[in-house]
C-alpha cells in the first residue's frame, strides 16, 4: 500500500501537466470552465488537479488519449508503437466533404494520426499493451487503420506475454470506410480470441461514450470491464431507440450505472481511482499466472 501511495503521488503531480482536455467550453480568458452536466463554473487549474472531474456533480469531462496514457502509465514508461499505420480512403468516400479532407482536418485539430494511440507501457511495474482511443479524432471511430493497430497491439501482447488494456471512447465504426470498418469488429474480436487462448488478461475501460461497433466488439470482451461514472455505454444510440419505440427513455438509460445494474460491466471506477484499480487487477492476474506456472512445473 505504501508503495502504491508513493507511486500515486508521483503521477498526481505530472497529470496536471498532461491531462489536456478539449477546451470546447472554456471561457475566453482560459481560466474557468463550465461543467456540461451541472453548469457550474470551475477554475481550470482546479479541474487539472482533479483529473477533469467536476467537484460539484462528479461529471467526468472528456479527456484525450494522451491524458489516459499518462494517467494509467508509470511515469515515462509509455512507448508508442504502430503510429505508422494510418487511414487512407479505400472507397473514395465523399459526403458533404471528402473523407481525405475530414482525415486531414482531424489530424490538424488533434495532433493525432489516428483515433487510437497504441504502445507498450508499464502500469504499477507490469508491462502491458496499452491502447487509448480519442473521441476528438472523428468521434473515436473504428476504421481499417484502427483495427490494424489494435490487432498489432494484441499480437505484441501475445509475443511478450503481456496483458492488454484498452481505453474505449467511440461512437462506433467509421462510415467512410463502409464495410471495411464493419469488418474490423470481426478482425479485432478474432485477435482477442487468440489472446484469450494464450490466457493473457484483457482489461477494457469504457469512457464516455462507448457505443455501437466498438461497444459490440472489443469494448465488451474484456475479462474485466471497467466503466467511468456516467459514461454513455450501449449498442444503439439513444436517439435511434427513442425514434424506434416512439417514447421517451428513462433517466440514466445506457449510462454506466445502468450497465452495471444490468450486468454489463464489472465496476464503475472514478478517474482518480482508475490507475490504482488497474494495478490491483494486474497484480492479481500476475499471481494467477505464476501459480499456474508453478503448478505445471511441479507436475513434471
Amino acid at each position: 500500500m505504501a508503495e502504491e501511495t508513493e507511486d500515486r503521488g508521483s503521477w498526481l503531480a505530472k497529470t496536471s501537466e498532461s491531462l489536456k482536455a478539449k477546451k470546447k467550453r472554456e471561457l475566453p480568458n482560459g481560466l474557468w470552465v463550465k461543467c456540461d452536466e451541472c453548469q457550474e463554473f470551475i477554475y481550470q487549474k482546479e479541474l487539472e488537479r482533479t483529473y477533469w472531474i467536476c467537484r460539484k456533480c462528479g461529471y467526468h469531462f472528456r479527456i484525450s488519449a494522451k491524458g489516459y496514457i499518462d494517467l494509467l502509465s508509470d511515469s515515462g514508461s509509455f512507448q508508442e508503437h504502430f503510429s505508422e499505420i494510418i487511414s487512407c480512403d479505400p472507397l473514395k468516400f465523399r459526403d458533404s466533404k471528402k473523407y481525405v479532407d475530414r482525415l486531414k482536418q482531424a489530424r490538424e485539430k488533434t495532433g493525432l494520426k489516428e483515433s487510437i494511440t497504441t504502445g507498450r507501457s508499464r502500469v504499477g511495474g507490469h508491462p502491458v499493451g496499452l491502447g487509448a482511443m480519442d473521441f476528438a479524432f472523428l468521434g473515436g471511430s473504428l476504421a481499417s487503420a484502427v483495427g490494424e493497430k489494435i490487432t498489432l497491439l494484441i499480437e505484441l501482447c501475445i509475443d511478450y506475454g503481456m496483458p492488454l488494456v484498452i481505453v474505449c471512447s467511440s461512437g462506433g465504426a467509421r462510415m467512410q470506410e463502409g464495410i471495411l470498418s464493419l469488418m474490423q469488429m470481426a478482425k479485432v474480436s478474432s485477435s482477442l480470441a487468440a489472446l484469450a487462448q494464450k490466457r493473457l488478461p484483457y482489461v477494457s475501460i469504457l469512457t464516455n461514450p462507448t457505443t455501437a461497433g466498438v461497444s459490440a466488439s472489443y469494448a465488451s470482451l474484456g475479462d474485466i470491464i471497467i466503466a467511468e461514472p456516467g459514461a454513455l455505454v450501449g449498442f444503439a444510440g439513444p436517439r435511434v431507440i427513442e425514434q424506434t419505440i416512439n417514447q421517451e427513455l428513462p433517466p440514466g438509460f445506457q449510462r454506466s450505472e445502468f450497465a452495471l445494474e444490468h450486468g454489463m460491466v464489472d465496476m464503475i471506477v472514478t478517474r482518480g481511482e482508475l490507475r490504482s484499480t488497474l494495478i490491483r487487477i494486474l497484480d492479481f492476474f500476475q499471481k494467477t499466472t505464476r501459480l499456474w506456472e508453478r503448478d505445471a512445473a511441479s507436475q513434471v
Partner: protein, 321 residues
C-alpha cells in the same frame, strides 16, 4: 399474398408488359385467335426493356431489390435447398427470438446446422418476426446452435437478412453489445466449416454477429453495409432523402464487396432478382453452398481455423505513413 403495391417503381413497366402479354395469351386461347406475331413483338420489347432496366441498376435500386417484399427469405431458401429441416428454438436463457431461426437440416443427404435471420412477408408476420431485427437472445440462440453443431462435428450455414440488431430498451438491458461481441469472438474459433450466405440485407453489426465464417457468399442483389443508407444520409448529409447518394458512397452492393475482397463469391440471381424465380435462385445458391462445404470439409481443423484467422486478419485497407 403480396399485392400490386409490392412491386418497385422501376419494375412496374416490366410487370405491366408481362401482364398485357398474359392477357393477350388468355384472350387468344379463349377466343381461338392467333396473336403470335403480336406476342413475338411484345416478347422482343420485354427482353429489351429488361435489359435496359436491369443492366444499369443503381446502388439504391439494389437496396430496394435487397429489401423487396417479394424477395425470398431465409426459410424460403431452407425449404428449397434442404431436404430436411427441424427447427430448434430458444436461447435457454430468456426467450425464443423469432427474428432468428435455426435448426437441423440436410443438404443432398448431408447434415448441416442452419441459422439465419428471418423477415416477415406482411405486417402480421413482420410483427411476429420483429422485421427480422434480432434481440440479444436471437444471437444467443444462434451461438447455442453453433455449439451444438461443433459438438457433433456438423458444418454451419448462416443466412443473413436483417435491417440490423433491434434498437430497443429491452435489447440494451439484456446486452445487445455483449451478445454481438461474444458471437464475433466465438465464431473466430468454431472448429467446423462455416459458410455464410448474404441473401438480402446485411445490416451492420446485427448481420455480422452471425456472419464470421470461412466463406461469405452474397446474392447478386443483396447488400451488406456498416450502416443503412438512410442512417448514413441522416448523419453525414443531415438529410435522410440523400439515401440514394449514401448508398452509392457506401459501396454496399455484392459487386462492391466482391471487389473489396470481403465477399468470396458473388451468386448470380435470375434476371430481375431472386423473387422473379425463387426456384432457380435457390438452385444456384445450393450449388455454391455445396461446393464450399465440400472444399472446406477437406481441410483439417487446424487448417480451417488458421485459414479463417488469416482471412479476418487481412481485412482492411490502410497506409504506412
Amino acid at each position: 399474398m403480396a399485392t400490386d403495391s409490392t412491386w418497385l417503381d422501376f419494375e412496374k413497366p416490366i410487370i405491366e408488359l408481362e401482364r398485357r402479354m398474359q392477357d393477350l395469351k388468355d384472350f387468344g386461347s379463349k377466343e381461338s385467335i392467333e396473336f403470335s406475331a403480336e406476342l413475338k413483338r411484345l416478347e422482343h420489347r420485354l427482353a429489351k426493356l429488361k435489359e435496359e432496366i436491369y443492366s444499369g441498376l443503381s446502388s439504391w435500386q439494389k437496396v430496394q431489390l435487397a429489401r423487396h417484399p417479394r424477395r425470398p427469405y431465409t426459410l424460403d431458401y431452407v425449404e428449397s435447398i434442404c431436404s430436411y429441416f427441424v427447427e430448434l428454438h430458444g436461447d435457454r436463457t430468456f426467450r425464443d427470438d423469432k427474428a432468428v431461426i435455426g435448426g437441423l437440416a440436410e443438404i443432398e443427404g448431408r447434415p448441416i446446422m442452419v441459422i439465419g435471420q428471418q423477415k416477415g412477408r406482411n405486417t402480421k408476420e413482420n410483427l411476429y418476426r420483429n422485421f427480422g431485427m434480432p434481440h440479444p437472445e436471437g444471437y444467443r440462440k444462434a451461438l447455442r446452435l453453433m455449439h451444438v453443431a461443433v459438438k457433433f462435428n456438423c458444418p454451419i450455414v448462416s443466412f443473413i437478412d436483417t435491417p440490423g440488431a433491434f434498437p430497443g430498451v429491452g435489447a440494451e438491458e439484456r446486452g445487445q453489445s455483449e451478445a454481438i461481441a461474444r458471437n464475433l469472438r466465438e465464431m473466430a474459433t468454431v472448429p467446423v466449416p462455416f459458410v455464410v450466405a448474404v441473401i438480402g440485407e446485411g445490416g451492420s453489426g446485427g448481420a455480422l454477429a452471425m456472419a464470421v465464417g470461412d466463406a461469405i457468399l452474397m446474392m447478386e442483389n443483396a447488400i451488406y453495409s456498416v450502416i443503412t443508407p438512410e442512417g448514413c444520409a441522416a448523419i453525414l448529409w443531415r438529410d435522410r432523402a440523400r439515401a440514394p447518394q449514401a448508398a452509392e458512397a457506401l459501396r454496399l452492393t455484392a459487386t462492391d464487396l466482391h471487389e473489396l475482397g470481403v465477399v468470396d463469391e458473388l451468386v448470380p440471381e435470375p434476371l430481375g432478382g431472386a423473387h422473379r424465380d425463387v426456384t432457380s435462385a435457390a438452385a444456384t445458391l445450393k450449388e455454391a453452398l455445396l461446393r464450399w462445404l465440400d472444399d472446406l470439409s477437406r481441410l483439417s481443423t487446424e487448417e480451417l481455423l488458421s485459414r479463417r484467422a488469416a482471412k479476418y486478419r487481412a481485412m482492411g485497407v490502410f497506409e504506412r505513413g
